[in-house]
């Protein structure tokens, strides 16, 4: 390398080294997200499209299994049937109010009664109607402090009692010997297995005979606009 070329190359190297962490293409740099190469974005886009396709296939398989499940229940005379449900808009929810309650826009005029189950999404059980007024109703979420519900935990179908902890959280206390892991489903003991939550944290202290299982509802209540009230 000639002396002139070295003189030009030296500052370039210093500048490149200094700015490398800022414009790193791996997304780790300070401005990495803004300066990602087009090729990298295309690759990510393709990978996400493949993932969406995989999930769509999984959703279809899930739907087919659900239908098959219903048909099998029908065969043995335990068809859970189509329940009469009513759609309700949420007028007030936690975050705007400091309690684990919802205020819905339908009430006694729409045949809502105390004790009706409140569902969201595919089959997520949120709570029960606690008070009914003429045009509105108040729902108490199962995560409200003091609320208890019999549940079935995990693949071994362990019976337990879920207790509301407030702030959308509930907890279950079980003997430490029972195997429960994060991601296990918590369902209500009914023929149509309504989902109450997914195990989030398992606190098992070796000095304690019991383990504490914390879980949240599978749907985000803050993002919900509608819920379904099961009238029968």
């Amino acid at each position: 390398m000639s002396k002139a070329a070295w003189i030009l190359a030296a500052p370039k190297g210093v500048m490149l080294d200094a700015t490398a962490p800022l414009v790193a293409d791996d997304g780790g740099g300070l401005f990495g997200g803004y300066f990602s190469s087009k090729k990298r974005l295309l690759e990510e886009n393709t990978a996400l499209k493949v993932r969406v396709m995989e999930l769509e296939v999984l959703a279809l398989a899930n739907k087919r299994l659900r239908e098959e499940n219903e048909e099998l229940k029908k065969e043995v005379g335990r068809f859970s049937g189509v329940h009469e449900e009513k759609l309700a808009a949420i007028l007030a929810r936690p975050n705007r109010i400091p309690y684990d309650t919802l205020v819905l826009d339908i009430g006694a005029e729409d045949s809502v009664a105390e004790g009706n189950l409140v569902l969201a999404g595919e089959d997520s059980l949120l709570g029960r109607v606690a008070q009914v007024f003429k045009k509105t109703s108040q729902v108490i979420l199962y995560s409200a402090p003091g609320e208890t519900l019999d549940v079935i935990v995990g693949p071994d179908n362990v019976s337990a009692i879920a207790e509301g902890n407030g702030g959308g959280n509930s907890r279950i206390s079980l003997p430490r010997d029972i195997a429960v892991s994060e991601g296990d489903l918590i369902i209500a003991p009914s023929i149509d297995s309504l989902t109450l939550g997914v195990v989030g944290v398992v606190n098992a202290n070796p000095a304690d005979a019991f383990q504490e299982i914390m879980f949240k509802t599978p749907v985000n209540i803050q993002e919900l606009r509608w819920v379904r009230i099961r009238l029968d």
Partner: protein, 93 residues
């Protein structure tokens, strides 16, 4: 001053229906210092709790687990704190 007090109370009432609960609490706390003996905040907080609080169910209305008067209790505590502080603070305008 009475006019401003009425307008502030209407704003507080509007906040109780449309703003997050902590917004109502914050606005009420500020108004406690602005107006003397601002009991309207207690009334609004009590109404808020009656509207949105946990229904008593089979348990006692005042059971700790299902206590339904969180905002009213907070407002009551803030009311007495503000009253004491107002006596010791001087406002210049």
């Amino acid at each position: 001053m009475v006019f401003f007090r009425i307008v502030a109370t209407l704003a507080l009432l509007f906040g109780a229906f449309y703003a997050p609960w902590w917004g109502t609490l914050f606005l009420g706390s500020v108004l406690l210092f602005v107006f003397k003996n601002y009991v309207e905040f207690l009334v609004v907080a009590f109404l808020f709790d009656l509207l949105y609080g946990l229904p008593p169910g089979g348990e006692s209305l005042f059971s700790v687990a299902r206590y339904s008067f969180l905002l009213f209790t907070s407002a009551l505590v803030l009311f007495f704190i503000a009253r004491e502080l107002r006596n010791t603070l001087s406002f210049y305008s």
